[in-house]
């Protein structure tokens, strides 16, 4: 499987998009740490990048890559290789290149300037979100019939997770504001990897003190060992379930 991924990686590196992405992340993180006096403020700004840009780039890049390597996939299908192996190699290649871009672009500055619990939480969230959205993008592109639909679906999903979902949560909280919603919001956060990542990092920062009673409850939960395992588990589910679904669809697809 690694053999195939090597060729996928090689193809990706030649297109130089990942290099540009790495450079972008590096420049942004580096300059944020330089501009802000307080490192935790810089982390807060970086958080926005990680939560918005990383999922968006992961989705778009994966979708475009999938359609561009359609020929490669077709060629591999006529060889003695199983479809599961082909798709997993593609996933490994894409995920590996996006991950290394993130680790070099954000990882190095963070380790340099803010090597603490918050910084590590940020890195963890970035890694998890990259893998999650690569998975989701694979599902979207395997399901969609053509490039335009695939990229459209990827963009819509990103909109949903990054923007629309928060609006919906606010709406629900507002409508049921008379009831105790703390446990319920905890559940809601698990349904969106971006929200989960945000809460996970925010609670490692001082500003969580401003979040009142719910914040206290969250801090209680996410601060404990259970919280970490909960986040890890949910993120793993978000990575594996869409990927497994994508493999299932891909196995039955006519190419």
């Amino acid at each position: 499987m690694l053999k195939l991924s090597r060729y996928v990686l090689y193809d990706i590196l030649r297109s130089k998009v990942v290099l540009a992405y790495t450079l972008f992340l590096f420049i942004v993180s580096f300059s944020l740490f330089q501009l802000e006096e307080n490192d935790s403020k810089a982390i807060l700004s970086l958080l926005t990048i990680v939560l918005i840009v990383v999922p968006l780039i992961s989705m778009i890049f994966t979708t475009i890559h999938y359609y561009n390597s359609y020929e490669f996939i077709e060629l591999m299908l006529s060889q003695p290789l199983s479809r599961t192996r082909i798709l997993l190699s593609e996933y490994a290649g894409v995920a590996l290149s996006l991950l290394s871009a993130f680790l070099i672009g954000v990882g190095i500055p963070v380790l340099f300037f803010a090597f603490d619990e918050t910084g590590l939480a940020l890195l963890f969230t970035g890694i998890a979100l990259t893998l999650v959205f690569t998975s989701i993008a694979f599902l979207a592109s395997v399901k969609a019939r053509d490039k335009a639909r695939g990229i459209g679906a990827a963009l819509l999903l990103w909109f949903y997770f990054a923007l629309i979902y928060d609006g919906l949560v606010l709406l629900i909280l507002f409508a049921f504001s008379d009831y105790p919603m703390e446990k319920f919001t905890l559940l809601l956060s698990a349904l969106n990897p971006i929200d989960l990542g945000r809460i996970f990092i925010m609670l490692k920062m001082d500003i969580s003190a401003l979040m009142g009673y719910t914040g206290a409850l969250y801090k209680d939960f996410f601060g404990s060992g259970t919280g970490v395992f909960f986040t890890l588990g949910i993120m793993l589910l978000w990575i594996t379930l869409p990927l497994l679904w994508a493999i299932r669809v891909f196995k039955r697809k006519d190419l």
Partner: protein
């Protein structure tokens, strides 16, 4: 070597394959012929596992093809339109497939590679190649691993007369090695010298599957094209396309 039983495939409303039954054996060269959209390529893709049949089964060497891709190591496939990764160089393509199939250097058949002089373009990226050169690459790849079964989808379309002759000669050679060869083509005169059996498909149905000699005897014709025209005249209006081709050829000749 290949046994097909009650194979059916539907694309939306179009019945692409309608209850196909047949048996292909070693030493046979089978011509799959029929008008455009009669299901020839779909049948080939079903054998290769690229298209999933709705019902029915295909057995290769006694084993039903179902998930396990290892049977494809015995098949060399030349697609109708060879599509390859743009960034990959010709040499890399061959190296990669060698890497995947794990066949020792001595087991390789570089005959066409030499005759088409492909080694001289080994460092050219695939996207710079012309349609005909791509076709040559596809042909060389299909024969490269010395497979027991060769599936050639329109092998001579797009090739110049010289290359087309080289390819035909190569097919003749492989025929002598007692291989199973499946060819689809619209150029019936090309098939005339090569085939031992003819399978005629129309609208997804198998109209007949006969030995070439029997077909010629039945119709008292020397040429494959005329023999098929003759047999199809028995009340089937759909077969008119072949009459038209022959008539067109006549007018061209007369002028």
């Amino acid at each position: 070597m290949i046994r097909i039983e009650n194979l059916k495939k539907k694309f939306k409303k179009l019945q692409a394959l309608d209850d196909i039954n047949s048996l292909f054996n070693q030493g046979q060269v089978i011509s799959l012929i029929g008008p455009n959209g009669s299901g020839k390529t779909t049948l080939i893709k079903c054998i290769l596992g690229m298209v999933r049949a709705d019902s029915g089964s295909i057995h290769v060497n006694g084993k039903q093809i179902n998930g396990d891709p290892s049977y494809r190591s015995q098949i060399g496939y030349m697609p109708q339109i060879g599509r390859y990764p743009d960034n990959m160089k010709v040499g890399q393509l061959f190296r990669m497939l060698k890497d995947i199939r794990k066949i020792p250097e001595t087991g390789l058949d570089t005959d066409l590679l030499v005759k088409f002089n492909l080694v001289s373009i080994f460092d050219k990226p695939m996207r710079t190649l012309s349609g005909g050169t791509r076709q040559k690459v596809s042909a060389a790849l299909a024969f490269y691993f010395n497979p027991a079964i060769l599936i050639l989808d329109e092998p001579t379309a797009g090739l110049d007369p010289l290359s087309s002759e080289i390819l035909k000669e190569k097919i003749m050679q492989e025929k002598k090695k007692n291989k199973l060869i499946l060819i689809t083509s619209h150029i019936l005169s090309d098939l005339d010298e090569l085939t031992t059996d003819v399978m005629y498909l129309q609208e997804g149905k198998m109209i007949f599957y006969k030995e070439l000699s029997a077909l010629k005897k039945e119709t008292n014709e020397e040429k494959l094209g005329k023999a098929i025209a003759n047999i199809m005249k028995g009340g089937k209006k759909e077969a008119l396309w072949i009459d038209e081709v022959l008539a067109l050829k006549e007018t061209v000749k007369n002028n």
